[in-house]
């Protein structure tokens, strides 16, 4: 791993520097001035975390996680962490799509990603600071669905984020496919409609409006948007926590830094320990369904 770390150290800044523009403020169908385009000359340099700032790599339009207005729980946690470390908080905004780690963290333009799966291979992960679960979201008045083996799923219209990436799809899609239940599935892009202020909200809104009977989404998304639904909705973690076909429905979430940044990772580990009460409070405040650490896998 030491050679891998070294390679991680030297990165040419060929990546595009997208300035923290107000991603949401513009009308997307008109041409607009661009603050930064392409860095013409490649600069080879050592990347070290900024000593003065906590530079966070974040999606500018993905509540409940983060947005450019600071309205996500990752924004709130980042503020706690920065304060604890005595650093100012700054952001590098980039949609969390393919190449996100490469074009943000590993391009050296920011130093930490607030939420990645524990053990995520592309980065060095800190200790996990919460574990959540995929959840069923259904109208409060109806019998809740808890498991993919519920016979009701044969007839209900099920909405799931389905797009996936890198040749795979989220676990609910896999679980339904393995049970041959795709006939009643309505797929939604994981990324949602990025022109909207809450791109991933639509699947939950569709449950509220009765356009679909039940949604199965990642816990933080279900918990946050269900609270904002005009129709009362019920959020139920998928049970059991592991499926023979789809793998785990629960994931532990950590922060991610460059593989070489062991010191920053250690510092963050300590912050997460020191501030665990505040962080847990933020997560509850945002409706993140929490699963006991150590449960599941």
């Amino acid at each position: 791993m030491s050679s891998a770390s070294r390679i991680g150290l030297i990165v040419a800044l060929a990546a595009v520097i997208a300035a923290p523009v107000a991603w949401l403020a513009h009308k997307h169908d008109e041409p607009r001035p661009v603050t930064h385009l392409v860095v013409p000359a490649e600069t080879v340099r050592l990347i070290d975390p900024d000593p003065q700032q906590l530079r966070v790599c974040a999606d500018p339009n993905n509540v409940p996680f983060s947005n450019a207005r600071g309205e996500g729980f990752e924004n709130a946690i980042a503020a706690v962490v920065a304060h604890d470390l005595g650093k100012t908080l700054s952001y590098f905004w980039l949609p969390q799509r393919r190449g996100f780690v490469r074009n943000s963290l590993n391009a050296g333009v920011c130093d930490v990603i607030m939420g990645v799966p524990a053990g995520y291979d592309l980065v060095r992960t800190t200790r996990a600071y919460y574990r959540s679960s995929y959840v069923f979201v259904s109208p409060a008045g109806q019998r809740p669905i808890r498991t993919f083996d519920d016979p009701a799923l044969r007839t209900l219209t099920v909405g799931i984020p389905i797009t996936g990436d890198d040749y795979e799809n989220p676990p609910p899609a896999m679980a339904l496919a393995a049970r041959h239940l795709m006939a009643n599935v309505r797929g939604y892009p994981v990324y949602g409609d990025y022109s909207q202020p809450a791109p991933q909200r639509v699947v939950i809104d569709d449950v509220g409006a009765g356009r679909i009977d039940v949604a199965v989404v990642w816990g933080p998304i279900g918990g946050y948007f269900a609270r904002r639904s005009r129709t009362p909705l019920r959020v139920t973690p998928v049970s059991p926590q592991r499926d023979a076909d789809a793998g785990p429905f629960t994931f532990a979430i950590a922060m991610g830094v460059r593989r070489s940044d062991t010191e920053l990772a250690q510092a963050l580990d300590q912050v997460l320990q020191r501030r665990r009460t505040e962080i847990a409070s933020i997560l509850r405040q945002f409706g993140v369904p929490l699963v006991e650490t150590g449960a599941g896998s």
Binding site: I7, A18, R32, H36, V44, T163, Y167, N169, A178, H180
Partner: protein
Amino acid sequence: MIRTGRTATIRAWMVVGLSCALVAACRHDAERVDAAAQQPAPKDTSNAPLLQAPTSSGATAPGQPPGFKLVDSNLPNGEWRTPMGDVAGLRYSPLQQITTANVKNLRPITTLATGVARGHEGQPLVFDNTMYVVTPFPNNLIAVDLTKPGGAIKWIYQPHPDPRAMGIACCDVVNRGAAFANGKIIYSLLDGNVVGVDAAKGNEVWRTKVGDINRGETLTAAPLVVKGKAIVGNSGGELGVRGYVAALDVDSGKLLWRAYNTGPDTDVRVASDFHAFYPKDQGKDAAVTSWGRDQWKLGGSTVWGWITYDPETNLFFYGTGNPGVWNPDLRPGDNRWSTAIMARDGDSGELKWAYQLTRNDAWDYDEIMENILVDMQFNGRSRKLLIHPGRTGFVFVMDRITGELLSAEPFEPVNWADGFDLKTGQAKENPSKRPKMHYTAEGVCPSSTGAKEFVPSAFSPRTGLLYIPAHNTCMDYEGTEANYIAGTPYLGASVKMYPGPGGYQGELVAWDVAHAKKIWSVKETELPVYSGVLATGGDVVFYGTMDGWFRAIDAHTGAQLWQFHTASGIVGNPITYVGPDGKQYVAIYSGVGGWMGVSAFPTISADDPYAALGTVGAMAVIKKYTAPGDTVYVFGF
């Protein structure tokens, strides 16, 4: 909009050679040029018999044997006005000044830095003594005055596309070139807009939003102009967009129609007289019923490759990309019209026939490759052919009027299927090589990058040979590791690609179309051939390598005649033209990138064999050979 004189990001042309003399009187006088050129006697080869038996009168290529009829009589004989050279997609120029005998004397005449060190796919256009270069994102258009010594920038049009598009494009921020019509350069911007730019002045005449990056759509393909309309296709199948072609009026940019590749017959614009040759491809609303419920809405099947057109039958042709949603179990059914060849009416865009190459794609075998149109003898009959060298590893030869599959023979190691049943049009699949749930397919050949990529082949009517830029990589679907997008965690499948059997990774294949077999090839040991190909009337074939070599080989034998090492890997397509001095030139982009080439970028770690959608495993060596570049090279005498 900056049009003239601004060189903020563009370095000036540098004169490398001295011989670009200005002889304006000779411009475009191709016949005179040809007559003046030394023409070697065509070599007698075993390929000659296939070009017997004239089919009809019509346009001919100089030196072309009888029996072959050009679909597009406007060959790029001195200019290069269409992305593929002509609308039939031959990538063949009859120019004969550069010959097998004198090509060894080629040398760089001039170079241009575009200022954008990303993958330079596509090719410039050349006409009216001007070269037009579209850069990767930010998609600047550079007009170069070829009458000035070394070339001089006339103007740079900067469209300022939405920078968010960069976060959405799957595999580098490329552009595959522009089209020209009615005084306008027409091309797509990564952010979903298409622009028409005044070819003389460089001002934007119109800009039309066609794709929506908020839904994951980008535009990377080159348009094709058909009867006053620019036909454009979308990209982004990985993100669950819905593929289509759209037609824009070349003068106003007005969107005339949009024809989807998935969905109800009305959305697909299925013609009332639609007739697929095979029963498997027939049926009302086939692009709805061949998916699980509603999956067609995220069905991918985009159009990011090449479009060709047959003026006689008024049909245009293109191939579609992989179906949306990676896992084939999530979209039960054949998933029409993903991985299909589509034939549409040149006026209305209505679908006349379609043929799906692979059903329920499980390998990511996009089939957006070029469909080359030729009229020639095949199996003893003169046929109107469509030739599609496919990502699947087969060369498909079809009757382009009926959509009948006449031949499908492999040009690289293939094991996902044993061939095609010409009676049913179905692949003879090897079930052990189909990835699915509960089953890990290993050693699947070709890999998801295919036996070739979008980089276009060339066809020479003088040899009857198709020159295919090919890859030889295989893959394993394996492992599960935590992944996430947009805050959502899941287990990611891993696709690891590695060189296929035979000890080579790239190959330029000379394919005898009439006899459906490989005649010879030029192998590249360590890297795929990821550049387009050009064939010329001088019987010289040009192509580039990912480690930067630009090569000329003998169109008959494959013998290497000349090579030059450019600054970066080549993933663009060579073109040839006659300069204002009456001399023949060859131009090529040098700037590695694209899905496979992106591994050359310093920020992609060679330690991660799964990066860049799995291609890093096959491409780990590329950093040893090349680095990003941004140069247009012009070669001549």
